[in-house]
Subunit: 149 residues, 2 copies
DNA sequence: CTACAAGTTCAAGTGAACTTGAAGTCAAGG
DNA sequence: CCTTGACTTCAAGTTCACTTGAACTTGTAG
Protein backbone atom coordinates (compact mmCIF):
# COMPACT_ATOMS: atom_id res chain seq x y z
CA UNK A 1 0.00 0.00 0.00
CA UNK A 2 2.54 2.60 -1.05
CA UNK A 3 1.50 6.19 -1.35
CA UNK A 4 2.41 6.25 -5.00
CA UNK A 5 0.87 3.96 -7.59
CA UNK A 6 2.39 2.39 -10.67
CA UNK A 7 0.74 2.76 -14.02
CA UNK A 8 -0.58 -0.78 -13.99
CA UNK A 9 -2.11 -0.27 -10.56
CA UNK A 10 -3.85 2.86 -11.74
CA UNK A 11 -4.99 1.08 -14.88
CA UNK A 12 -6.43 -1.80 -12.87
CA UNK A 13 -8.16 0.42 -10.35
CA UNK A 14 -9.59 2.86 -12.85
CA UNK A 15 -10.37 0.46 -15.65
CA UNK A 16 -8.52 2.75 -18.05
CA UNK A 17 -5.75 1.21 -20.15
CA UNK A 18 -2.16 2.17 -19.44
CA UNK A 19 -1.78 3.48 -22.97
CA UNK A 20 -4.75 5.75 -22.38
CA UNK A 21 -3.19 7.02 -19.16
CA UNK A 22 -0.02 7.95 -21.02
CA UNK A 23 -2.15 9.59 -23.65
CA UNK A 24 -4.01 11.60 -21.01
CA UNK A 25 -0.72 12.71 -19.55
CA UNK A 26 0.49 13.83 -22.95
CA UNK A 27 -2.68 15.91 -23.18
CA UNK A 28 -2.00 17.29 -19.69
CA UNK A 29 -5.18 15.85 -18.23
CA UNK A 30 -3.26 14.05 -15.53
CA UNK A 31 0.29 14.21 -14.18
CA UNK A 32 2.78 11.83 -12.65
CA UNK A 33 6.07 11.90 -10.85
CA UNK A 34 8.92 9.66 -11.87
CA UNK A 35 10.73 6.95 -9.97
CA UNK A 36 14.51 6.79 -10.27
CA UNK A 37 14.03 4.25 -13.04
CA UNK A 38 12.00 6.70 -15.11
CA UNK A 39 8.79 4.84 -14.40
CA UNK A 40 5.65 6.82 -13.69
CA UNK A 41 4.42 7.11 -10.12
CA UNK A 42 0.91 8.42 -9.55
CA UNK A 43 -0.33 10.22 -6.48
CA UNK A 44 -3.59 8.84 -5.14
CA UNK A 45 -5.82 11.81 -6.16
CA UNK A 46 -5.18 10.94 -9.80
CA UNK A 47 -7.86 8.27 -9.46
CA UNK A 48 -10.51 10.87 -8.75
CA UNK A 49 -9.30 12.87 -11.70
CA UNK A 50 -9.57 9.85 -13.95
CA UNK A 51 -13.04 9.13 -12.64
CA UNK A 52 -13.97 12.67 -13.57
CA UNK A 53 -12.58 12.20 -17.07
CA UNK A 54 -14.44 8.96 -17.62
CA UNK A 55 -17.78 10.32 -16.45
CA UNK A 56 -17.37 13.53 -18.36
CA UNK A 57 -16.84 11.50 -21.50
CA UNK A 58 -20.05 9.60 -20.82
CA UNK A 59 -21.81 12.92 -20.57
CA UNK A 60 -20.44 13.80 -23.96
CA UNK A 61 -17.57 16.19 -23.35
CA UNK A 62 -14.48 16.00 -25.53
CA UNK A 63 -11.07 15.61 -23.94
CA UNK A 64 -10.34 19.20 -24.81
CA UNK A 65 -13.41 20.37 -22.94
CA UNK A 66 -12.57 18.11 -20.05
CA UNK A 67 -9.10 19.58 -19.93
CA UNK A 68 -10.56 23.06 -19.77
CA UNK A 69 -12.75 22.00 -16.84
CA UNK A 70 -9.87 20.40 -15.01
CA UNK A 71 -7.85 23.57 -15.39
CA UNK A 72 -10.42 25.29 -13.21
CA UNK A 73 -9.45 23.20 -10.22
CA UNK A 74 -7.32 24.93 -7.58
CA UNK A 75 -3.69 24.44 -8.52
CA UNK A 76 -2.13 24.51 -5.09
CA UNK A 77 -4.23 22.17 -3.02
CA UNK A 78 -5.99 18.89 -3.43
CA UNK A 79 -9.49 19.48 -4.80
CA UNK A 80 -12.28 18.76 -2.35
CA UNK A 81 -15.81 17.56 -2.84
CA UNK A 82 -17.06 21.05 -3.44
CA UNK A 83 -14.52 21.66 -6.19
CA UNK A 84 -15.61 18.55 -8.08
CA UNK A 85 -19.21 19.42 -7.51
CA UNK A 86 -18.76 22.84 -9.04
CA UNK A 87 -17.28 21.37 -12.20
CA UNK A 88 -20.01 18.88 -12.86
CA UNK A 89 -22.84 21.22 -11.87
CA UNK A 90 -22.86 22.67 -15.35
CA UNK A 91 -23.34 19.32 -16.96
CA UNK A 92 -26.95 19.29 -15.88
CA UNK A 93 -28.31 21.40 -18.70
CA UNK A 94 -26.23 19.56 -21.23
CA UNK A 95 -27.59 16.25 -20.06
CA UNK A 96 -31.11 17.65 -20.02
CA UNK A 97 -30.82 18.79 -23.60
CA UNK A 98 -29.64 15.43 -24.75
CA UNK A 99 -32.38 13.66 -22.83
CA UNK A 100 -34.94 15.99 -24.33
CA UNK A 101 -33.69 15.23 -27.81
CA UNK A 102 -33.81 11.49 -27.20
CA UNK A 103 -37.34 11.78 -25.91
CA UNK A 104 -38.37 13.81 -28.90
CA UNK A 105 -36.82 11.19 -31.16
CA UNK A 106 -38.57 8.41 -29.34
CA UNK A 107 -41.99 10.02 -29.41
CA UNK A 108 -41.97 11.30 -32.93
CA UNK A 109 -39.63 9.17 -34.94
CA UNK A 110 -42.08 7.05 -36.79
CA UNK A 111 -44.43 9.96 -37.32
CA UNK A 112 -41.77 12.02 -38.95
CA UNK A 113 -40.18 9.38 -41.11
CA UNK A 114 -43.57 7.96 -41.99
CA UNK A 115 -45.11 11.33 -42.69
CA UNK A 116 -44.68 13.52 -45.68
CA UNK A 117 -42.87 16.43 -44.12
CA UNK A 118 -39.28 15.32 -44.53
CA UNK A 119 -38.09 18.85 -44.16
CA UNK A 120 -35.08 17.83 -42.19
CA UNK A 121 -33.88 21.39 -41.97
CA UNK A 122 -36.83 22.55 -39.91
CA UNK A 123 -38.20 19.36 -38.40
CA UNK A 124 -38.42 19.47 -34.63
CA UNK A 125 -36.95 16.02 -34.45
CA UNK A 126 -33.84 16.71 -36.41
CA UNK A 127 -32.86 19.48 -34.01
CA UNK A 128 -30.11 20.91 -36.18
CA UNK A 129 -28.38 23.17 -33.69
CA UNK A 130 -27.51 20.33 -31.39
CA UNK A 131 -24.64 18.76 -33.23
CA UNK A 132 -22.27 18.96 -30.27
CA UNK A 133 -24.56 17.13 -27.91
CA UNK A 134 -22.62 13.97 -27.52
CA UNK A 135 -22.78 11.70 -30.49
CA UNK A 136 -19.05 11.84 -31.09
CA UNK A 137 -17.44 12.93 -34.35
CA UNK A 138 -20.26 11.73 -36.56
CA UNK A 139 -21.50 13.73 -39.48
CA UNK A 140 -19.87 17.01 -38.67
CA UNK A 141 -21.97 19.05 -41.03
CA UNK A 142 -24.89 16.68 -41.20
CA UNK A 143 -27.28 19.54 -41.19
CA UNK A 144 -26.58 23.19 -41.46
CA UNK A 145 -24.91 23.58 -44.82
CA UNK A 146 -28.34 23.81 -46.35
CA UNK A 147 -29.96 27.22 -45.78
CA UNK A 148 -33.50 25.87 -45.85
CA UNK A 149 -35.23 22.48 -45.74
CA UNK B 1 -40.89 19.08 -60.43
CA UNK B 2 -39.31 16.14 -62.23
CA UNK B 3 -39.83 12.69 -60.84
CA UNK B 4 -36.09 12.18 -60.45
CA UNK B 5 -33.88 14.44 -58.40
CA UNK B 6 -30.31 15.52 -58.93
CA UNK B 7 -27.74 15.12 -56.22
CA UNK B 8 -27.76 18.79 -55.36
CA UNK B 9 -31.53 18.79 -55.04
CA UNK B 10 -31.39 15.84 -52.70
CA UNK B 11 -28.59 17.50 -50.76
CA UNK B 12 -30.58 20.69 -50.38
CA UNK B 13 -33.80 18.96 -49.39
CA UNK B 14 -32.22 16.54 -46.96
CA UNK B 15 -29.55 18.78 -45.52
CA UNK B 16 -26.98 16.07 -46.21
CA UNK B 17 -23.92 17.04 -48.26
CA UNK B 18 -23.53 15.66 -51.76
CA UNK B 19 -20.26 14.03 -50.78
CA UNK B 20 -22.06 12.25 -47.97
CA UNK B 21 -24.73 11.05 -50.38
CA UNK B 22 -22.06 9.54 -52.63
CA UNK B 23 -20.52 8.00 -49.55
CA UNK B 24 -23.84 6.49 -48.50
CA UNK B 25 -24.26 5.07 -51.96
CA UNK B 26 -20.81 3.51 -51.82
CA UNK B 27 -21.88 1.90 -48.57
CA UNK B 28 -25.10 0.72 -50.25
CA UNK B 29 -27.33 2.68 -47.91
CA UNK B 30 -29.01 4.43 -50.83
CA UNK B 31 -29.14 3.87 -54.55
CA UNK B 32 -29.47 6.01 -57.65
CA UNK B 33 -30.10 5.61 -61.32
CA UNK B 34 -27.96 7.33 -63.87
CA UNK B 35 -28.82 9.90 -66.47
CA UNK B 36 -27.28 9.49 -69.92
CA UNK B 37 -24.53 11.82 -68.79
CA UNK B 38 -23.54 9.54 -65.94
CA UNK B 39 -25.03 11.93 -63.40
CA UNK B 40 -26.95 10.44 -60.49
CA UNK B 41 -30.74 10.63 -60.53
CA UNK B 42 -32.57 9.88 -57.32
CA UNK B 43 -36.07 8.52 -56.99
CA UNK B 44 -38.23 10.44 -54.54
CA UNK B 45 -38.38 7.76 -51.81
CA UNK B 46 -34.65 8.22 -51.26
CA UNK B 47 -35.51 11.24 -49.16
CA UNK B 48 -37.34 9.10 -46.65
CA UNK B 49 -34.44 6.71 -46.57
CA UNK B 50 -32.05 9.55 -45.89
CA UNK B 51 -34.31 10.84 -43.15
CA UNK B 52 -34.17 7.41 -41.60
CA UNK B 53 -30.38 7.39 -41.77
CA UNK B 54 -30.07 10.80 -40.18
CA UNK B 55 -32.42 10.01 -37.31
CA UNK B 56 -30.90 6.63 -36.71
CA UNK B 57 -27.53 8.31 -36.36
CA UNK B 58 -28.98 10.67 -33.78
CA UNK B 59 -30.22 7.66 -31.88
CA UNK B 60 -26.69 6.32 -31.90
CA UNK B 61 -26.60 3.63 -34.58
CA UNK B 62 -23.52 3.24 -36.75
CA UNK B 63 -23.86 3.29 -40.51
CA UNK B 64 -23.26 -0.44 -40.53
CA UNK B 65 -26.15 -1.03 -38.17
CA UNK B 66 -28.31 1.33 -40.17
CA UNK B 67 -27.45 -0.61 -43.31
CA UNK B 68 -28.53 -3.82 -41.63
CA UNK B 69 -31.85 -2.24 -40.68
CA UNK B 70 -32.45 -0.91 -44.17
CA UNK B 71 -31.82 -4.34 -45.60
CA UNK B 72 -34.92 -5.49 -43.76
CA UNK B 73 -37.12 -3.31 -45.90
CA UNK B 74 -39.12 -5.08 -48.63
CA UNK B 75 -36.99 -5.16 -51.75
CA UNK B 76 -39.69 -5.16 -54.39
CA UNK B 77 -42.04 -2.41 -53.34
CA UNK B 78 -41.81 1.05 -51.89
CA UNK B 79 -41.76 0.82 -48.08
CA UNK B 80 -44.88 2.11 -46.40
CA UNK B 81 -45.47 3.76 -43.08
CA UNK B 82 -45.75 0.41 -41.33
CA UNK B 83 -42.39 -0.76 -42.69
CA UNK B 84 -40.62 2.29 -41.35
CA UNK B 85 -42.45 1.99 -38.09
CA UNK B 86 -41.30 -1.59 -37.62
CA UNK B 87 -37.66 -0.60 -38.07
CA UNK B 88 -37.64 2.20 -35.57
CA UNK B 89 -39.77 0.37 -33.03
CA UNK B 90 -36.69 -1.37 -31.70
CA UNK B 91 -34.95 1.89 -31.05
CA UNK B 92 -37.19 2.51 -28.10
CA UNK B 93 -35.30 0.37 -25.64
CA UNK B 94 -31.99 1.65 -26.87
CA UNK B 95 -33.10 5.20 -26.33
CA UNK B 96 -34.51 4.32 -22.92
CA UNK B 97 -31.22 2.80 -21.83
CA UNK B 98 -29.30 5.86 -22.87
CA UNK B 99 -31.76 8.16 -21.15
CA UNK B 100 -31.52 6.06 -18.01
CA UNK B 101 -27.76 6.31 -18.07
CA UNK B 102 -27.86 10.06 -18.51
CA UNK B 103 -30.27 10.36 -15.64
CA UNK B 104 -28.09 8.22 -13.44
CA UNK B 105 -25.13 10.38 -14.38
CA UNK B 106 -27.04 13.52 -13.62
CA UNK B 107 -28.32 12.39 -10.25
CA UNK B 108 -25.21 10.78 -8.92
CA UNK B 109 -22.24 12.32 -10.61
CA UNK B 110 -21.02 14.56 -7.88
CA UNK B 111 -21.69 11.96 -5.24
CA UNK B 112 -19.61 9.39 -6.98
CA UNK B 113 -16.69 11.55 -7.94
CA UNK B 114 -16.77 13.29 -4.60
CA UNK B 115 -17.10 10.10 -2.63
CA UNK B 116 -14.48 7.56 -1.85
CA UNK B 117 -15.74 4.62 -3.85
CA UNK B 118 -14.05 5.22 -7.15
CA UNK B 119 -14.46 1.62 -8.10
CA UNK B 120 -15.15 2.44 -11.69
CA UNK B 121 -15.47 -1.19 -12.59
CA UNK B 122 -18.52 -1.75 -10.41
CA UNK B 123 -19.93 1.72 -9.91
CA UNK B 124 -23.55 2.03 -10.97
CA UNK B 125 -22.77 5.25 -12.70
CA UNK B 126 -20.02 3.97 -14.89
CA UNK B 127 -22.33 1.33 -16.34
CA UNK B 128 -19.59 -0.64 -18.04
CA UNK B 129 -21.66 -2.85 -20.32
CA UNK B 130 -23.09 0.07 -22.18
CA UNK B 131 -20.21 1.01 -24.40
CA UNK B 132 -22.22 0.83 -27.60
CA UNK B 133 -24.90 3.18 -26.39
CA UNK B 134 -24.17 6.10 -28.62
CA UNK B 135 -21.07 7.99 -27.63
CA UNK B 136 -19.34 7.38 -30.95
CA UNK B 137 -15.90 5.83 -31.30
CA UNK B 138 -14.54 7.20 -28.08
CA UNK B 139 -12.56 5.07 -25.69
CA UNK B 140 -13.31 1.71 -27.22
CA UNK B 141 -12.07 -0.27 -24.27
CA UNK B 142 -12.55 2.45 -21.70
CA UNK B 143 -13.75 -0.07 -19.23
CA UNK B 144 -13.76 -3.79 -19.53
CA UNK B 145 -10.14 -4.68 -19.97
CA UNK B 146 -9.84 -4.72 -16.21
CA UNK B 147 -11.33 -7.87 -14.67
CA UNK B 148 -12.32 -6.18 -11.43
CA UNK B 149 -12.66 -2.66 -10.08
C1' DC C 1 -17.50 28.55 -79.85
C1' DT C 2 -16.47 29.64 -75.34
C1' DA C 3 -17.61 29.89 -70.42
C1' DC C 4 -19.12 28.10 -66.57
C1' DA C 5 -21.68 25.43 -63.39
C1' DA C 6 -22.62 20.91 -62.05
C1' DG C 7 -21.57 16.58 -62.14
C1' DT C 8 -18.14 12.35 -62.21
C1' DT C 9 -14.21 9.08 -60.05
C1' DC C 10 -10.48 8.03 -57.18
C1' DA C 11 -7.08 8.70 -53.75
C1' DA C 12 -5.88 10.86 -49.82
C1' DG C 13 -6.83 13.75 -45.75
C1' DT C 14 -9.45 14.88 -41.18
C1' DG C 15 -10.41 14.57 -36.13
C1' DA C 16 -11.17 12.21 -31.90
C1' DA C 17 -9.40 9.00 -28.81
C1' DC C 18 -6.77 5.82 -28.43
C1' DT C 19 -3.90 1.30 -29.61
C1' DT C 20 -0.07 -1.13 -31.41
C1' DG C 21 4.57 -2.13 -32.49
C1' DA C 22 9.45 -1.54 -32.35
C1' DA C 23 13.34 -0.83 -29.77
C1' DG C 24 15.30 0.01 -25.56
C1' DT C 25 15.93 0.36 -20.06
C1' DC C 26 15.88 -1.51 -15.42
C1' DA C 27 15.38 -4.58 -11.26
C1' DA C 28 14.78 -9.05 -9.44
C1' DG C 29 15.07 -14.18 -9.69
C1' DG C 30 17.27 -18.53 -10.91
C1' DC D 1 24.93 -14.31 -16.80
C1' DC D 2 20.55 -14.58 -18.64
C1' DT D 3 15.82 -14.21 -18.73
C1' DT D 4 11.47 -12.32 -17.46
C1' DG D 5 8.34 -8.72 -16.65
C1' DA D 6 7.21 -4.14 -16.08
C1' DC D 7 8.14 -0.11 -17.71
C1' DT D 8 9.89 3.69 -21.18
C1' DT D 9 9.58 6.60 -25.81
C1' DC D 10 8.28 7.48 -30.43
C1' DA D 11 6.11 6.76 -34.72
C1' DA D 12 2.57 4.86 -37.06
C1' DG D 13 -1.88 2.47 -37.31
C1' DT D 14 -7.17 2.11 -36.33
C1' DT D 15 -12.18 3.32 -36.59
C1' DC D 16 -15.97 6.13 -38.03
C1' DA D 17 -18.11 9.23 -41.01
C1' DC D 18 -17.14 11.91 -43.89
C1' DT D 19 -14.52 15.88 -46.69
C1' DT D 20 -11.23 17.60 -49.90
C1' DG D 21 -8.60 17.85 -53.99
C1' DA D 22 -7.19 16.66 -58.58
C1' DA D 23 -8.36 15.64 -63.03
C1' DC D 24 -11.96 15.04 -66.06
C1' DT D 25 -16.77 15.15 -68.62
C1' DT D 26 -21.40 17.11 -69.65
C1' DG D 27 -25.18 20.35 -70.17
C1' DT D 28 -26.74 25.02 -70.64
C1' DA D 29 -26.32 30.10 -71.60
C1' DG D 30 -24.64 33.75 -74.16
Amino acid sequence: MADLLTISEVARRSGVAASALRFYEERSLITSERAGSGHRRYARPVLRRIAFIVFAQRVGLTLEEIGAELDKLPPNRAPNRRDWSRLSSQWGSRIDQRIAELERLKRGLTDCIGCGCLSLGRCQLANPGDRAAGLGPGPRYWIGDAPLG
